[in-house]
C-alpha cells in the first residue's frame, strides 16, 4: 500500500497540492480525476519522487520514500509521464531494455533479456522491436513506454495521462492492458485520467481532486453518481447504465 500523508506542494504562496491524504490499495487500479489544475499530476510526481514535496510524507509498504535509495525505490515504484522527449534515437528493444536498468545497471543478463522479451510480447511489440521510436504512431510509442515500465517489474506503476493524444481504439487497448497487468500479474496501477468514463469503466477506486485537495475517495461505484460528480466538476452529469458500465453523459450538461 502507498500511503500519502499530509502532502503539500507550494509554488510561491499558492498551494497546488494541500494536505492530501490518500491510501493506494494493492492490486487495484486507482484513478486520479478532477478538473484541470486540480493537482493530479503534481501529486503523482511527488509520490514518484520526480518532485520534492514541501511538507508531508509518502510511505511505500510502510517505508518512507525519502529514506529509500534511488535504485531501491525504482525497483518498487515506476512512473511514466505524459511527455517523453528524448534527444537520442532508440529502437523499441533498446527502450524496453532500459527498463531493466535498476536491476542490471546497464549490463543485461540472460534473465534481463528474457524479461525484456516478455514485456514486448505482452505489449504486442515483438514484430516491430527493431523499429525506431520516432517512426512510430502515438499509440505504438505509448505501448513501447509501457513495455519499458513493465520490464522495470515494479509492484506499483504510476501513469500520468497515458491516454493523452490517443484515439479511442488505442485508449481502450491501453486501458485493457492495464487491467490485465492488475488482474494477471497482480500489479498496482495508479493513473491520472481526464475522461471520467475510462475511470468509471476500468478502475477499482477513484480519487477526485479539486483545487489541490481530495474531495472524493472511494470505490468507483461510490464516485460515479450525479451528486459526487456535481461536487467535483460543478456540472450536472446524468449517469446511464449500459451493460455493466456506468457512463457519464456530460456532453450537454
Amino acid at each position: 500500500m502507498i500511503q500519502v500523508r499530509e502532502l503539500s506542494k507550494f509554488y510561491g504562496k499558492k498551494a497546488v497540492v494541500e494536505k492530501v491524504n490518500v491510501d493506494i490499495h494493492r492490486g487495484k487500479i486507482t484513478s486520479f480525476i478532477g478538473p484541470n489544475g486540480a493537482g493530479k499530476s503534481t501529486l503523482l510526481s511527488m509520490v514518484s519522487r520526480l518532485l520534492d514535496a514541501d511538507t508531508g510524507e509518502v510511505l511505500v509498504d510502510n517505508d518512507d520514500v525519502r529514506k529509500m535509495k534511488s535504485n531501491d525505490f525504482s525497483k518498487r515504484v515506476s512512473i511514466l509521464k505524459q511527455s517523453n522527449f528524448m534527444n537520442v534515437r532508440l529502437t523499441i528493444r533498446e527502450l524496453v531494455s532500459f527498463g531493466r536498468f535498476p536491476h542490471s545497471k546497464g549490463r543485461l543478463t540472460a534473465e534481463d533479456l528474457r524479461i525484456v522479451d516478455q514485456s514486448m510480447d505482452y505489449m504486442d511489440l515483438m514484430e516491430m522491436q527493431n523499429d525506431y521510436l520516432d517512426e512510430l504512431s502515438g499509440g505504438q510509442r505509448q505501448r513501447a513506454f509501457i513495455a519499458m515500465v513493465i520490464a522495470q517489474d515494479t509492484d506499483y506503476i504510476l501513469l500520468d495521462e497515458p491516454l493523452n493524444n490517443l484515439d479511442m481504439k488505442h485508449s481502450v487497448q491501453i486501458m485493457k492492458i492495464l487491467r490485465r497487468l492488475v488482474d494477471e500479474l497482480g500489479k498496482t496501477v495508479v493513473i491520472v485520467l481526464h475522461d471520467i468514463n475510462f475511470a468509471s469503466v476500468y478502475s477499482d477506486r477513484i480519487v477526485a481532486l479539486k483545487e489541490g485537495r481530495v474531495v472524493k475517495d472511494g470505490p468507483t461505484n461510490d464516485i460515479i453518481n450525479s451528486e459526487a460528480l456535481k461536487e467535483i466538476y460543478d456540472m450536472d452529469i446524468p449517469i446511464k447504465q449500459m451493460k455493466n458500465c456506468r457512463i457519464c453523459v456530460y456532453f450537454d450538461s
Binding site: 514518484s48 519522487r49 520526480l50 520534492d52 534511488s70 535504485n71 531501491d72 525505490f73 525504482s74 525497483k75 515506476s78 512512473i79 511514466l80 509521464k81 517523453n84 522527449f85 528524448m86 534527444n87 537520442v88 534515437r89 532508440l90 533498446e94 532500459f98 527498463g99 536498468f101 535498476p102 545497471k105 546497464g106 549490463r107 515500465v149 522495470q152
Partner: protein, 316 residues
C-alpha cells in the same frame, strides 16, 4: 559495420597519424627530436580526450548538441586571469614565466570558480539546468569584457604575451606539465567511468532517468565538476580549445549512431586525437608553421557548426 569495428579502424588511423608525426623526417635524431615530438603527441592526446569527454558529458546533461562546456565561462576566466596577471604583474613576473606555477594557478582558479558557481546554483536544489547555463554565459561575457578592457590599456609589448595565451598551441608545451595533466585526466576518467551507464539513462530525460533509479542531482553535479576539471586542465595546458569539442562530439554521434556513452566517448576521444595529431602534422610539415592549428580548428569547426545549426533547424 559494427561499432567495435569502427572503433578499431579509427584507432588504427590514430596510430598511423601518431607514427607519421613522430617518425617522419626524423633523420635519426632519436635523442633530441623524438622525445620532444613524443611530449607533443602526449599533450595532444590528453587535450583531445579531456575535451571530447567533457563535451560529450556536458551535452548529455544539457540535452543539447550544439553546446560546449566553454559556455560556463571557463575559457574567459582563463584569459582574464592571464591578462590580469600580465597587466598587474608584468610579463616577466614569476607567475607568468614559471609554467608550473601558472598551470596550478590556472587550474585552481577555474575549478574553484566552477565549484562556487555550482554550489551557489544548486543550493536551493531546484534550479533548472538552463538557469546555470544562463548564469555561465553572463559571467563569461563579464570576464571577457574585463579582459578586453585590460588588453586595450596594456603596453603593446605586453599585449603580445597576452595574445600568445589567446590561442591554443601545442608548440611550447612543457614536458613536466604534461605528466601532471596526464595524472589529473586519468583520475578524472577513472571517476567518470563509474557513471558511464548512468549517462545513457540521462539522455532519456530527467523524468525517465529518475524513474529508472538514477540519483539525478548527484550524477549531474559530479559530471559538471568533472567536465570543469577536464576543461580546466586542457585549457591550462595548451590554451582555449573547447570549440573543438563540438566538432568531435558531433562527429562521434553521426559516426556511431548509438546512445551508448562508452562507445560515444571513446569514439570522440579517438577522433579528437586523429584531428589534433593529424592537424598538427599538416600545420608543421605541409604549411611549415605558416598557420596555427587553432586557426584551422576554428575554421573547420565554424563551418561544421553552421551545418549543424541548419540540420537541427530542419529536423524540428
Amino acid at each position: 559495420m559494427r561499432n567495435s569495428t569502427k572503433l578499431f579502424i579509427l584507432s588504427i588511423i590514430a596510430v598511423i597519424f601518431c607514427g607519421l608525426y613522430l617518425f617522419q623526417g626524423l633523420n635519426g635524431s632519436y635523442d633530441y627530436a623524438l622525445p620532444r615530438r613524443g611530449i607533443k603527441v602526449l599533450a595532444m592526446a590528453i587535450t583531445g580526450v579531456a575535451i571530447a569527454y567533457s563535451t560529450v558529458i556536458f551535452q548529455t546533461i544539457t540535452h543539447n548538441r550544439i553546446l560546449t562546456p566553454s559556455i560556463m565561462g571557463l575559457d574567459s576566466l582563463y584569459l582574464l586571469l592571464q591578462t590580469a596577471m600580465i597587466f598587474f604583474l608584468g610579463s616577466g613576473h614569476m607567475v607568468i614565466v614559471n609554467k608550473h606555477v601558472n598551470f596550478i594557478l590556472s587550474v585552481g582558479t577555474m575549478v574553484l570558480f566552477a565549484l562556487i558557481l555550482y554550489r551557489f546554483l544548486f543550493r536551493g536544489g531546484k534550479q533548472p539546468i538552463y538557469f546555470l547555463l544562463l548564469v555561465g554565459i553572463i559571467v563569461g561575457t563579464f570576464f571577457g569584457s574585463i579582459s578586453t578592457f585590460l588588453q586595450v590599456l596594456i603596453d603593446p609589448n605586453e599585449f603580445m604575451r597576452v595574445q600568445d595565451k589567446m590561442f591554443a598551441s601545442f608548440n611550447n608545451v612543457s614536458g613536466d606539465l604534461v605528466w601532471w595533466a596526464l595524472g589529473i585526466v586519468v583520475i578524472g576518467l577513472i571517476i567518470g567511468w563509474r557513471y558511464i551507464n548512468d549517462l545513457d539513462v540521462l539522455s532519456l530525460g530527467r523524468d525517465t532517468a529518475v524513474n529508472l533509479g538514477v540519483s539525478y542531482n548527484k550524477v549531474v553535479k559530479t559530471m559538471l565538476v568533472l567536465s570543469a576539471v577536464l576543461v580546466a586542465v586542457s585549457t591550462a595546458l595548451v590554451g582555449p580549445i573547447t570549440f573543438f569539442g563540438l566538432i568531435v562530439a558531433n562527429l562521434s554521434y553521426q559516426f556511431f549512431k548509438t546512445f551508448k556513452h562508452s562507445i560515444l566517448i571513446i569514439g570522440a576521444s579517438i577522433i579528437s586525437i586523429i584531428a589534433l595529431v593529424g592537424g598538427q602534422w599538416v600545420v608543421e610539415r605541409v604549411f611549415t608553421f605558416s598557420t596555427t592549428l587553432s586557426v584551422i580548428i576554428n575554421f573547420i569547426g565554424g563551418v561544421y557548426f553552421i551545418y549543424l545549426l541548419l540540420k537541427e533547424s530542419r529536423s524540428t
